[in-house]
Structure formats: structure tokens, C-alpha cells
Amino acid sequence: MKLHPILAALRKHKAGTVLIALQIALTLAIVCNAVFIIGQRIDRVNRITGLDESNLFLVSQQWVGAPNADSADGVEKLDTMQREDLAALRQLPDVASVAPINSLPLLNSSWTGSVSHKPGAQLSGKDNTRTAYYFTDEQMLSTLGVRLVAGRAFNAGDVQHQGFRDQRDRPIAIITRQLADKLFPKGDAVGKVMYTDGSNAPTTIIGVVARLQIPSTSSQGNDFAWYSTLIPTRLDANFARYAVRTKPGRLDAAMRAVAPTLYKVNPMRVLDDDSVKPFSDIRARAYRADVGMAILMGVICLILLCVTAAGIVGLTSFWVGQRHRQIGVRRALGARKVDILHYFQIENLLIVGVGVAIGVLLALGLNLWLMSHYEMTRIPLPYVLTGVLAMLAIGQAAVFVPARRASNVPPVVATRAA
């Protein structure tokens, strides 16, 4: 098929042609970037925390009129209260294990610091590695379901306690494999020494866990999302958090038992609706905005593609109606049905082709603009290429019905007056 007659015909429909091409270009630009945003959000949400997330819940509670955590005496009293709570929870029939912990992955509360090879390094120095601390005890591994890949776990003798705001040396720690690889690329972190928060006292790495995400899901945390450090210490304050692993399938029963049990230990405390929540709730809350954004972008993309496809159907239908007679003439002169079909298909391919060419430039431009104004990374080429193919396919699909109607125009039309 020769392109010349198609081009000549398009020149007669400049406005319509330009409008379709423009619409294709804008659609491609927006859809590429929107789908890229969706992809980024899905990647974020699918990050593995390293926890065994089923049958896990968190208790956050606060004591009323608790002893002052700033005095040595108060710290001891608070620690006794915390140990009573832990003992009571561990005795529940549906509970497998319990660990005190200052936060959990995806929970909006974190304690971050930095680790270094050298003692006395500046806290915010450039050669330090940022980390998030989990202060917990020897039941941490079984409660969180984190996998130890080297060294040993904490034992009961390792566990210290301190006031929430007290400064104390940290003789031992377990770190994640990602942090271990960063600090000791040779893979021999166990037994090595690091210094936390610019301290002069060494911390010996006694174990390495496969993976444990930091609490923060904010963009500031992206650089060190897997750099967690576990310290065998119970923190004593007027509030405490307990991670609880239940026996399989006993999550609801165990959660229901928490409030009565803890009130029995000590009624002077705050336990409200938010105090006992399964990990699935923590996850849903952490990623709500991401999931929402992905859904919103998805809906907009869908509307956009439908509108564009419908637009192509509409305009092509109009052209087919307008050229009714000419099609009849072509058929009468010997063109086969398939020639007419191909004519409209190739015409569409040409217009959409020009549209996507402009659209690719617009998509990259929009991406650059978003990068300069918002937190956005460079769009990978596969996204753009997929978008181009999708637009071409949608164009062909949209043109098919009117084109087939055109191919069904009988040659006899040529003999009738318009």
C-alpha cells in the first residue's frame, strides 16, 4: 500500500489529525508517568520487613502516675512493672512469645542514630552509617520471626535495662546483614567492633539477622531502610511496647485477653482502642497513602485511555462517514475489502505514530519536571516503551470497528448521487 494517498487525504483533515495526535501525545505522557508512580508505590509496599507478619501484634501502653524515669530509683521501679507485664503476657495460653521493643518496622516511631568504625565520630558525620535501633530482649528472634544468619542470639544474661533517656554503653548488638555488609564488606562482621552514636565505648557485633526493616517509611529513611541495630536492653519509661507472637490462628483470642490481663496486673494505665493492634493494621496504616496514590493514578489512567480510545473511534467514524462515496469509488475500481481496512489502519498507525513520538518527548519532559519539583526518580525506558506499544495497540483496536464498517461499504455507492 502506498502512503501517498493517505498523506494527501490527511492534509485535507489537518485539524482532526493534529487533535488526535495531540491527544495521543498527552495521554502517553501522563499515562507513562502515572504508571511509573504506581510502579514505585507498589515496589515500596512490597518491601519485605523481615518479620513473620502473621500472628503478630503490638501492645502500646502507658502507666498513670508512674515513677520518674529520670531517677535511678524510678528506673528500677518501672523495670519491675515492665517485667510483671511481660511475665503476665507470657503466661497467656494463646501467646507463644513476647518481647519488649521500642518500635516495629512500619510503625511511626523510631530511634535513629549512626554507627562507625571509629570511636568518638561526630553523630552526623559524613563517614557514619545511619541506623535505627530496636531495644528488646532475648525473646526478640522468636517473637519477630527474624532469621539469624550468623553468630548467636541474645540470651537472658545479655539483657540490660536503662531509663528511656539515659546514656549507657552498648557492649553487644545484633545487626542486619545489609548493615553488616556495609560496615564489613568481607562478610566477617560477627565478633567485630563498631561504635554507636559517636561513643568511645565499643559495641561488639555478636550476630547478624537476614533482614529487618527500620520503623520509618518516610523518604528520609529510604537511604538506610535495612540498616537496623538490635540492642539487648529494656527501655524504662512511663510507657512501654510489647511485641506478641501468638500461637497459630490464635491472634484474635490473644489480643482480646491483653487488656483484662494487664489491668489485673496494674489498673493505673492507659489502654485504649489503639493500644492493641495486629501487625496487619500497622502495615495498612503505614502504606495507606501509597496504596491510595496508586489507586488514584490507576483510575485516572483508565479514564484517560478510555477517553482517548473513544475519541479515536468517534473521529474515525466521522471520517468514514465523510468518505463514504470515495470508498465506494475505490471499491468499484477494484479495491478489495481488506485494502479499505488496511487504509484506515495504516492511517491510524501514522497519526498515532506521530502522536507517540511527541508523547515520548512530553513524557520525558514531564518526568524531568516532576523530578525537579517533587521526590521522583528518572523514568526507566521500559515504562516508556511499554507505553508506546500500548498506545499503538489502543489506536489499532479503536480504529478497527469504524475501519471494518468502511470496508463493508458496497461498490454500488459509487454510482449513487451523494
Binding site: 498527552l26 539515659d166 561513643s199
Partner: protein, 438 residues
């Protein structure tokens, strides 16, 4: 004449129901997507205290030096205890308050009721008049209450309802963290969004408002710990809450009321003088790097409007643009299909202006129909944003009369704009040529 054009337009639209439906749907969806995202954007980017925001200022003091600055040279976005106290002592603004977020427990007087946890702020007495906080009963506390570390409290209407059944509780006591506080004021409905007085700790938006306000110095004296962010450039040398107060860690929000540009300049100079004094005293080893922003500038600087909200609005506007381009194409097809009819009208003496009127009426009707569909879809969209957006933000988006009017207006104006070029083409139809070819 208009009713005639109306009739013509309706007849023409009825003649090609598919094309008409397509245009109405495109306009409806485009407008609804834009208006839904706009309602969210409008809610989060609004000025929480429009009558006063230009007089409220947030000072920043650089107590960390070059190593602690962000990449754009900004000092910390909160204050350390030392500087906050110095600024309060100097008292250079018309009104000012240092504040920190607290989360104490409240013990109901009724026997058998479990304690509850409330959020609040420790503030100075000037906080209430400075922010025009509305009171239902009583008032805030005095400067002498501040200095005497009085055990007084201002509670929210919600907490008053919970503890005292809504009656005036002024003069009664509330047990907070095991200590009795005398209620001096009960707030009326006050839930500013964003929570502008402390955006660093609230992230800007929160559905749960502050329930208690205590005097700052009283809270410090009873060592009521801060509940918000604490950022340190070095580990505090001493332990405990007192150690935090002696450290350079930042955890205190600060706001000052300044009338006019001259007062702002004076205060800015004061901040620099203060930093220079600290430099001379050897506490700061760097030149002053203070900031003083008024509230709108501060909210912008702290990126209170989530970037997701802006991106969604942009993408939705992009959708509207595509829908309009689509409408231009379809209207063009529709109008030019009637070249014969136009030719006849022109040949019978119709002016170009008459053709314009006829076809813009038709475009307007499509726009109006799209707008009505858009209204329904916007209603559905706003109702379902709670499903996709964080609760704190979704709760702010609402449909009101201005949003409804805007939806209709955008739909009609946009469609008429889209109809301009097709109408122009229609008006250029040569009557003679059309008549001949028929």
C-alpha cells in the same frame, strides 16, 4: 433567538446520541477528577488563620552549626531549650510562646473508669490570645501563672464533654499524670488544619485535636516528657529529661506575633544579635544563621501540603486537558458534518455571528450536561477519597456550594472554549460551495 438555538442544539445532539454521550462522559469524568483532587488540595493548602497569618512568625536559631544544616543551609526546624528560654525571657515580640507536645494520661474522677491518654501542648499564656483561640468557658492563664508555675489547665470542649458532661468545668480539677490541675478555660470548637502552631510534630494534619494545654514551665517542673520529635546533633551529656534540657537537641516549637514589616525586621535583627552574642560567648562557633518566616512561608517551607496531593491535582488537570482536546475533535467532526445545513442557513442570510451563537449554544449544552454528570461524579469522588487517602487528609475534603458551582463553571467554560475552534471552522463554511455540492 436563544430558545431557537437551544432547540436546534438539542435536536442535533439527539441525532447522534453516541457522539453526544461520548462528549458528555469525557467532560464529566475530566471535571470530576479535577474537582475531586482540587477539593483535597484546597483543604490541605488552605490558610488556617487567614486574618492573622501574616503577623505570626516562626523564628529559627542555628545552634548546630554548619555540620547540622540541611543541604540548603537551613538551621534546625525546632528549638533547643536554652534558646527557647532565652527568647521567652527577652520577650521582644508583641506576644510569643514556646511550646512542646505532650501526651499525658488523664484519670477520670468517676470510680471504675479507666485512665485515658490525651494529646496536648505545654504553652505560655500568650498562646491563646496570639492565636485567637476561642473559649467556651473561662479563658487562658496569666503571665504570673506562667512564672509561678501554676497548676492550671485549659481543656478542649471534647474532653470537657467526656469528663464533665459538657457543663462549665472552670474551677474544677482534672487529674493529669497523677497531679491535680485547676481548669481555667474550656475551648470552643477549635481544630485548625493544618495544625499550624506545631507542624513539625503533627506533620501538619491530624484528626485528633489537642485536648489539654498546660503552662510550659509547670510541665517542665513536673518533668512531663515531650511526646514529639527530638533531634540531636550529639548525644546529650546528661541523662533524663533534664539532660535533654541542657543539651543542644531541638524539640521545642516557637511562635511570635509581630505587627508589620518594621516589627519583623526588628525581630530579625534581634535574632541575629542574639546569635552573635552566643558566638561571642563561645557557645556558637559560627556566624548567625537565623531565619524568621511568617506562617504562610513557614507552612510552605515545611512542605505541609503533601507532594502526593499536588501531583494528583496535576495529573487530574492533565486528564481534563486530554478530555478537552478530545471534545475539540469530536465537536469539530460534529459541526462540520452539518456543513450542508450551515450552508443553507448562511445562504438564507444568517450572519456569521448567528452561526457562532448557534454552535456555542450547542457546546454550552454539552458542557452543562458534562457538568451535571461531573457534579455527581465529584460527589462520589469526594465521598470515596477516604478510601484512598490518609484519614487525616481525607477527612478535610468536603463538598460545598462553592465546589459545586466551580464544577459547573469549569465544565461549561472549558467546553465552550473547546467549542471555539470548531465553531470558527463552522462559521467559515462557504455557502455557495455547499449548495453546489449538494
Amino acid at each position: 433567538m436563544f430558545s431557537y438555538y437551544l432547540e436546534l442544539a438539542l435536536r442535533s445532539l439527539r441525532r447522534s446520541p453516541g457522539l453526544t454521550a461520548l462528549m458528555v462522559l469525557a467532560i464529566g469524568f475530566g471535571v470530576a477528577a479535577s474537582m475531586t483532587t482540587w477539593s483535597v488540595f484546597r483543604a490541605v493548602s488552605g490558610d488556617p488563620i487567614p486574618w492573622k497569618s501574616s503577623q505570626l512568625f516562626v523564628p529559627q536559631i542555628d545552634n548546630w552549626g554548619p555540620n547540622g544544616r540541611s543541604s540548603d543551609g537551613e538551621p534546625p526546624n525546632a528549638m533547643g531549650y536554652t534558646d527557647a528560654m532565652a527568647l521567652m525571657r527577652d520577650h521582644r515580640a508583641k506576644r510569643q510562646s514556646a511550646m512542646y507536645q505532650i501526651s499525658p494520661s488523664v484519670v477520670p474522677a468517676e470510680v471504675g473508669k479507666h485512665p485515658l491518654n490525651v494529646s496536648g501542648h505545654a504553652v505560655y499564656g500568650e498562646f491563646f490570645p496570639m492565636l485567637d483561640v476561642p473559649f467556651k468557658y473561662g479563658s487562658g492563664w496569666s503571665a504570673s501563672d506562667d512564672t509561678n508555675r501554676a497548676t492550671v489547665v485549659v481543656i478542649s470542649g471534647k474532653l470537657n464533654q467526656k469528663l464533665f458532661g459538657g457543663a462549665s468545668s472552670v474551677g474544677k480539677t482534672v487529674n493529669i499524670e497523677g497531679k491535680d490541675y485547676r481548669v481555667v478555660g474550656v475551648l470552643d470548637d477549635w481544630n485548625p488544619q493544618p495544625r499550624f502552631y506545631d507542624v513539625v510534630n503533627t506533620g501538619g494534619f491530624s484528626t485528633t485535636g489537642d485536648d489539654v494545654f498546660l503552662p510550659f514551665l509547670t510541665a517542665i517542673q513536673t518533668s512531663m516528657p515531650n511526646d514529639g520529635n527530638t533531634n540531636c546533633n550529639a548525644v546529650p551529656e546528661e541523662s533524663g529529661f533534664v539532660g535533654l534540657q541542657h543539651s543542644e537537641c531541638v524539640w521545642i516549637a516557637y511562635m511570635a506575633e509581630l505587627d508589620g514589616a518594621a516589627a519583623a525586621t526588628a525581630y530579625r535583627n534581634y535574632l541575629n544579635d542574639y546569635a552573635r552574642e552566643q558566638q561571642q560567648a563561645g557557645r556558637f562557633r559560627w556566624a548567625p544563621n537565623s531565619r524568621l518566616r511568617n506562617l504562610p512561608q513557614w507552612l510552605d517551607n515545611q512542605h505541609v501540603v503533601p507532594s502526593d496531593t499536588k501531583v494528583s491535582l496535576l495529573v487530574a488537570l492533565g486528564l481534563l486537558l486530554v478530555c478537552l482536546v478530545n471534545t475539540v475533535g469530536l465537536l469539530l467532526a460534529k459541526f462540520l458534518r452539518r456543513s450542508g445545513e450551515i450552508g443553507v442557513r448562511r445562504a438564507l442570510g444568517a450572519q456569521r455571528a448567528a452561526i457562532y451563537a448557534q454552535f456555542l449554544t450547542e457546546a454550552g449544552i454539552v458542557g452543562l450536561a458534562g457538568g451535571v454528570l461531573g457534579l455527581l461524579l465529584t460527589g462520589a469522588g469526594v465521598a470515596s477519597v477516604g478510601w484512598v487517602l490518609p484519614r487525616d487528609i481525607a477527612a478535610l475534603a468536603r463538598v460545598d456550594v462553592s465546589l459545586l458551582l466551580l464544577t459547573l463553571l469549569v465544565a461549561v467554560v472549558a467546553t465552550m472554549l473547546a467549542g471555539l475552534y470548531p465553531t470558527f471552522r463552522a462559521s467559515r463554511v462557504q455557502p455557495a460551495w455547499q449548495l453546489k455540492s449538494n
